[in-house]
Symmetry: D2
Subunit: 143 residues, 4 copies
């Protein structure tokens, strides 16, 4: 069973558009944020260490988001991340946002590991992989 | 044959991340920008007029983007918008970004027309629709 | 004695520029954020309530910031807000950011209260004022 | 006599806040943008070349802005940059924004030249300086 990784974001004035609701672009910034938080808190790999010490990065391959209901100033948005598919060199996240029981958005966000030395794709090392497994929605395929 | 609507964006310092390439979130801001430009210049409907005078809006239903190659500071990104599917009350845009012949991203971005009086979906009026048709990749279905 | 209002912000990837340090524009977003937090948590006036129920706003008159040292990805920035001058209808904030004992920026940020009915300046009501007083660096002048 | 450097920015949906006017933080992004444009078009030094080839940078020392009138969606903001003070190693810009004859903001924005090799302040070389002089409001002092 997947254990979702969860964070909270208070919806601020700066997130909102002239309609008084979250401008959709800011949801992508929040998606970026929870992935960064997950790497730091769940995988034990803060971005600065990942980039400078391990010399690897996780560029984004694709991302898609369905916007279900508007989100308002003052809302506390609960973000939940799990892994829909853990590949050899890639991770496809399932990220959702809700306010109370009200689902606001549902995203798929795929990143792939690259070496910052060669800029080529590389397999996720076993030590990182082990820390990612608990967040997989189902058993990883193809292994 | 579709006639793409095209704009240019110079990649600035503020678009770039610590890796020196465009932060993916900023591509969504550019996608939002070309849609706004298209409504103003092609459909003849600037957002302020759309919202205040026509009392309609086009909230985003879903958006997805494939990131093909990194984009760098100083690049001139050419954005091209066409309509993949023009529904009764919705528009699904096909939006691409390239630098010279180098494709950088490819997005699908779907919006749906709503009345700002009732917040309910409404059919795109014929006068607007006529101005949208030239940007359709194929003849609109279901009409 | 002033009691500063304090919040923390983790410096994320999205805050940083190609030089790997916080892009100065993002410090202004953080300044905006701590003012919003202070209105909510210290004055008891969340922005949505201020705007919709009390029908008042606090537009920005001027802001200035000295950037003392660069701030890096992964830093925990401590923000501190106090009031340098509480006028009849205006508040001049003194806002500082530091990482540990290292001061990063120092800002002055002045807002003025307006009625959202008349868009004219109005005196800060006594109930709000009483909650602001503990954050004044010195006794308010001209009262 | 100063010759101001001028650019235009269309005010977009993404620049505006729930009050329907430009969120002040976005004016700082525009200030950053006109400085970048001026370095490229007037001084002949695009940022990527400045950073990678000349190995110099211009970090921001301080910035201050007075917000005179709100700016709205659909406005064409004319930005004007001149140099209030050209120091040995620093430049203090005077940057204004107006819509038609209506002044919207007035900023002072000071940057200082540093070597990216030593991270120490360095004098602006004569070749760059010569291209900056036409934008000075008055004859540079202390030379």
């Amino acid at each position: 069973m997947a254990m979702p990784f969860s964070t909270r974001r208070l919806i601020r004035f700066s997130h909102c558009d002239p309609a008084g609701i979250v401008f959709f672009v800011n949801f992508f910034e929040m998606i970026s944020g929870i992935v960064e938080d997950w790497f730091r808190d769940a995988v034990g790999l803060p971005f600065q260490e990942m980039h400078l010490e391990r010399r690897v990065g996780f560029p984004i391959v694709n991302t898609g988001c369905e916007f279900l209901r508007p989100c308002h100033l003052g809302d506390t948005l609960v973000l939940e991340l799990s892994i829909a598919r853990l590949g050899r060199a890639s991770i496809e996240f399932d990220i959702r946002g809700r306010v109370g029981g009200d689902e606001k958005f549902r995203a798929r966000h795929k990143v792939a590991m690259v070496s910052l030395e060669t800029f080529r794709s590389m397999a996720i090392p076993e030590d990182m992989r082990a820390k990612m497994l608990p967040y997989c929605e189902t058993r990883p395929a193809g292994r």
